[in-house]
């Protein structure tokens, strides 16, 4: 049998095997929650039942739509900027040891700054428009991308590089034919971490000053004790983050079929 086919889109049976346990767990938690709110008669402004949250989400969908669109825009632009800057920095770090020594500590320090403290400053400097949100998202996202890509570039098997050199390859050929492809799994690891944080970055950016966005909606709902709307927004934020993450995973599988060969999947399964 040939085992070289890249992993196909999973069939129904496989999908159940793969996601069934998670779905079941979530369903159980929601069921317990629903029962608990009913049994102990918990007030809706303290903790609404999942059914009430679902109803609130459906009722508020007209309101949520434009806020969602705004947050998606901020997230995608911010993430795009982080990707561009992150890849460039990874490249610079890789090109010269001096640059690495100069940049790496700065990068780490940039991640120790509490975003929540910087966000208001960004509003003061750049106003209430798109830019401060994009910057917050970018700050949250670029670090994992830099580290993942730079580590990917560095971890290239030196024997592979030597092989190409022995075949008379130029530096350029070594870079594009060996080091770049070898760095891609690391880069995607960084991107997956980054995209998971990206939406929350946009929300924080909105909290400190905005007129539209899921963060604004959440804040207003909270101030008017519409706890059901707060939870509905949280659900939307989670769904958005999950959707973005899955999109990246999908792109990764298409881009790196060699990394997801059947043989390897089976080994992971066994572990």
């Amino acid at each position: 049998m040939r085992r070289n086919a890249p992993v196909k889109a999973p069939g129904i049976g496989q999908a159940i095997a793969e996601y069934g346990p998670a779905v079941l767990l979530v369903a159980l938690v929601f069921a317990a929650w629903e029962v608990a709110t009913a049994v102990w008669k918990i007030q809706a402004w303290l903790l609404p039942a999942p059914s009430a949250i679902a109803k609130a989400a459906v009722d508020a969908r007209g309101l949520l739509g434009p806020h969602l669109a705004q947050t998606v825009l901020e997230t995608l632009v911010g993430f795009g900027a982080a990707l561009a800057v992150g890849l460039l920095m990874a490249l610079l770090i890789d090109l010269s040891a001096t640059l690495r020594r100069a940049l790496y500590p700065l990068l780490v320090v940039s991640q120790t700054i509490p975003i929540i403290a910087v966000a208001p400053l960004l509003v003061i400097w750049f106003g209430y428009g798109l830019l401060p949100k994009v910057i917050v998202v970018g700050l949250v996202c670029f670090f994992p991308i830099v580290v993942g890509t730079a580590d990917g570039l560095r971890s290239t098997d030196p024997d592979l590089i030597a092989l190409l050199q022995s075949m008379g390859a130029t530096r350029r050929q070594v870079f594009f034919k060996v080091r770049v492809p070898a760095s891609l799994p690391g880069m995607f690891t960084g991107i997956k971490v980054a995209i998971t944080y990206s939406v929350v970055g946009a929300i924080i950016g909105e909290w400190v000053g905005a007129s539209r966005g899921l963060g604004v909606f959440m804040l207003r709902a909270s101030n008017s004790f519409r706890t059901d709307w707060v939870f509905a927004t949280i659900a939307v934020v989670s769904a958005l983050s999950l959707a973005l993450f899955l999109a990246v995973v999908g792109i990764e599988r298409l881009a790196l079929p060699w990394f997801y060969t059947k043989a390897r999947e089976e080994t992971w399964e066994e572990m």
């Binding site: 040939r2 070289n4 022995s166 008379g168 790196l256 990394f259 390897r264």
Partner: protein, 258 residues
Amino acid sequence: MNSCPDAPCKLELTGITKWFKVDGVPLKALEDVRLHARAGEFVSLIGPSGCGKSTLFNIICGLLEPDEGQVLLDGQVASRRAGLVGYMPQKDLLLPWRSVLDNVILGPELRGENLQESRREAKELLPLFGLEGFADAYPAVLSGGMKQRAALLRTFLTHREVLLLDEPFGALDALTRMELQEWLLGVWERFRKTILFVTHDVDEAVFLSDRVYVLTPRPGRVRTVIPVPLPRPRARSIIASPEFATLRYQLLEALALR
């Protein structure tokens, strides 16, 4: 077909010496290694682990520079020789993100040759290298023997006249190994390459070679050269002949000398 005593010298090493620095301490890996291979000759190097065989290959293919001595290709001093010989390293080193087909055409691709043409040629050779139907497979799904054959095909497709094979069958089971040895002889006779072959295996060296260089433990020096005048083409049955047994014993003796 016998060894080729009159053929011109394809490759010659004139007293190669190589030092390494390990934790600041100089270490002599090779000492005054002189050897040559004539056009179309199959020459083996045998010696204990760590005696510098891979180092010697790295020097010949241009990855390392010797501290003394020179590498001559076709009688000319080859100072910039990367890409002039086909080198198959000890590990198979296939690029994991490339299909078998795209792996084996790496040599022509790096030289900027026509890719379509190279792919066509490679496809024609896949069956001979036991890789039929695996053109689009990734290395991760190949068996150890198939990986070695793919790496060998890549080395052949560099179209260099001199091939350096560093223990190509070292990690394989005895049966696969035997099959591949016979197969390699077939391929070598068909393409008329000059092959320098590193091995630890006395039987392998005698079965394959025209001449065998025996190296000393580190620092690697040529202890002796043993010609193998067995007739060609050789079949597996030759290992049962008294001539084979004599050569084998001679080689073992040379290796065991203190």
